[in-house]
């Protein structure tokens, strides 16, 4: 990254600001005081070991969960700031946040094209005057629907799914279903695209194609991408900013290079260093005296 790029990246407008987010399930504090920002034109990755609270953060952002505490402010494309924690789920799509799921959630018995048309429900519903115009086949609605199909076609081309547009979504191969999820999310015309492990279950070639697609979305559409991912080859090559969570807390944040060499991150992923004190019970078995005990 050149100095110029860095300057441009820092100047990019903040899309999503997560402040002191906490999510409690009974006695479990799944997300504890997490703050970070996601900017337009950048890929922000959220990584961390299993159970670190990544998906919970996503569920709060997209309205699946009501956060126990904290604030999620999102700047819509008209500049107004929306507080996501106060909006019902179906409104969140309307202001420009789209997401995909770790386990694929397409409409399996609808065609590929129809999956993309459902994603444009709000503008089409408005254009069709609650389907009255659609039923009568009025020209105003025909035009809106043609535009909808055009947008769908654009994303089918970008994701390489044009040839299977008439298939039932459930019959697509796995990698294609993953791409269709992204295409469908993009058809809501989002400002922020949230992807929950988009590379899970993909082979290396498909992962590389995914990375290209995400890069082209970032650069072509200029929108923000928020990414949860385990596949480090994807995270490290395409992210502009990485947030690391462990046990619900943010333990590090920064560029991919900085995060990769961060001591706390290495500890979270690989465990303790050798020179850390042994757990007491192990020490007792080995007959070693532990500092501060048995004195």
């Amino acid at each position: 990254m050149t100095a110029l790029d860095t300057a441009a990246a820092t100047a990019a407008p903040v899309l999503l600001k997560v402040e002191h987010l906490c999510m409690r399930f009974g006695g479990l504090l799944a997300v504890n005081d997490v703050s970070f920002t996601a900017k337009a034109g950048q890929i922000t990755a959220v990584i961390g070991p299993n159970g670190a609270g990544k998906t919970t953060v996503f569920n709060c952002i997209t309205g699946f969960y009501r956060p126990s505490a904290g604030r999620l402010s999102f700047r819509g494309d008209d500049g107004t700031v929306h507080l996501l924690e106060r909006l019902p789920g179906y409104r969140i799509a309307g202001i420009g946040v789209a997401r995909t799921f770790q386990n694929i959630r397409l409409f399996p018995r609808m065609s590929v094209l129809e999956n993309l048309m459902v994603a444009q429900h709000r503008p089409l519903m408005r254009a069709s005057a609650f389907s009255v115009a659609g039923l009568l086949g009025l020209p105003s609605y025909r035009k809106a629907e043609r535009e909808g199909v055009e947008l769908a076609r654009h994303w089918l081309e970008r994701t390489g799914l044009v040839d299977v547009a008439d298939w039932e979504a459930g019959n697509l191969p796995y990698g294609a279903q993953r791409r269709l999820e992204i295409a469908r999310a993009m058809c809501t015309r989002p400002q922020l695209l949230c992807l929950d492990e988009p590379a899970a279950g993909l082979n290396p070639r498909e992962s590389a194609e995914l990375a290209d697609l995400l890069r082209s979305i970032r650069d072509g559409e200029g929108i923000g991408v928020l990414l949860i991912e385990h596949d480090m080859s994807v995270v490290m090559t395409i992210s502009d900013h990485v947030v690391v969570l462990d046990y619900g807390r943010k333990i590090a944040e920064g560029s991919p290079e900085a995060v990769r060499s961060d001591a706390a991150v290495i500890k979270a992923y690989l465990g303790e260093d050798e020179d850390d004190p042994l757990p007491p019970e192990v020490a007792a078995d080995l007959g070693v005296r532990v500092d501060g005990e048995g004195a």
């Binding site: 179906y90 409409f107 018995r109 429900h121 039923l135």
Partner: protein
């Protein structure tokens, strides 16, 4: 042969009416997976609105049949749509996410409530109206004087049903609302995330089902000329049978099931005995459930692990 033809015409008329009611069951089942047992009552209310409207229009001097029927249809559909919306809003929506049995009990409660409400308000006595549409064609007349007739009313019922079915299929397949309904059927949460207002989509499903039941109610009122507060029960159970027979959740299935039940009833009462026509209809249901549990056009539910 002539007798067969006559029973065929009668059966088709009856089947069209059952089909219209069955669509309400099948759509609601498709979208929220519950049997709306109050749906038969909605149909009964549609019939009552029709009787009242016919009388009021008669008093107002609107006696030209096409105008009167159109007005009555509109009034009846509007009223029952409000009932359908209200039932969903107050009896089912608070129970969304509750165990499946809870909304079922609520539906049965709603059915009893509506029946008694109409009984108290309108009295338990049978309500007659004078025939609105009279006359018909004689298709074939046999030498011994037996004639195959199709009345104008039967033609009206069958044509209305066909038109509504076509409109409905277009709505479900070709409009954003229909697409949203099919999406909600498969994954409500995801549909919500894509900007579909799930609660409103479900409400509209109830409204549409109720409006179709109202059409059936108006037709029955004109066809038989008498109604009472209890007609919703048997018609509801028959239409439910039709929906299950066709494959619950499938729209063409509901229509096909309705026609099948109507034809079975007509032929059974024509050739065997009229007393046992309900037994025949329900026996068919039992047989279908044993040998083809998903119904004629239903798709088997495959559980993926």
């Amino acid at each position: 042969m002539e007798y067969f033809l006559q029973q065929l015409i009668n059966g088709l008329t009856l089947g069209a009416i059952y089909g219209l009611i069955a669509i309400g069951y099948t759509m609601v089942y498709g979208i929220i997976g519950m049997i709306n047992f109050a749906h038969g009552e909605i149909y009964m209310i549609g019939a009552f609105v029709a009787v009242i409207a016919f009388i009021v229009l008669g008093l107002a001097g609107i006696t030209w049949a096409p105008a009167a029927i159109a007005l009555v249809l509109l009034l009846s559909m509007a009223f029952t749509a409000v009932y359908g919306w209200t039932v969903e809003r107050f009896a089912y929506r608070p129970l969304r996410g509750a165990p499946r049995l809870a909304p079922l009990i609520s539906a049965i409660g709603m059915s009893i409530l509506l029946q008694n409400y109409v009984q108290l308000l309108q009295g338990a006595r049978v309500k007659p109206i004078p025939p609105v549409v009279q006359g018909g064609f004689t298709i074939i007349e046999r030498a011994d004087g037996f004639a195959v007739n199709i009345s104008y009313l039967q033609i009206l019922i069958i044509l209305t049903t066909v038109a509504l079915m076509a409109g409905f299929t277009a709505l479900i397949n070709g409009t954003p609302l229909g697409r949203a309904q099919r999406a909600c059927e498969q994954d409500k949460k995801m549909a919500g995330l894509l900007g579909v207002d799930v609660d409103r989509t479900i409400s509209l499903t109830f409204v549409m089902g109720a409006a179709l039941a109202a059409v059936a109610g108006v037709m029955v009122t004109m066809y038989y000329g008498v109604i009472d507060f209890f007609i919703g029960f048997l018609a509801g159970v028959k239409a439910f049978t039709a929906a299950v027979l066709g494959g619950i959740g499938s729209l063409p299935g509901a229509m096909l099931g309705g026609l099948a039940i109507g034809l079975i009833e007509a032929f059974w009462s024509g050739y065997f005995s009229i007393e046992y026509k309900d037994v025949a209809a329900f026996s068919i249901l039992v047989l279908v459930l044993i040998f083809r549990p998903t119904g004629l056009l239903g798709r088997p539910e495959i559980e993926k692990v």
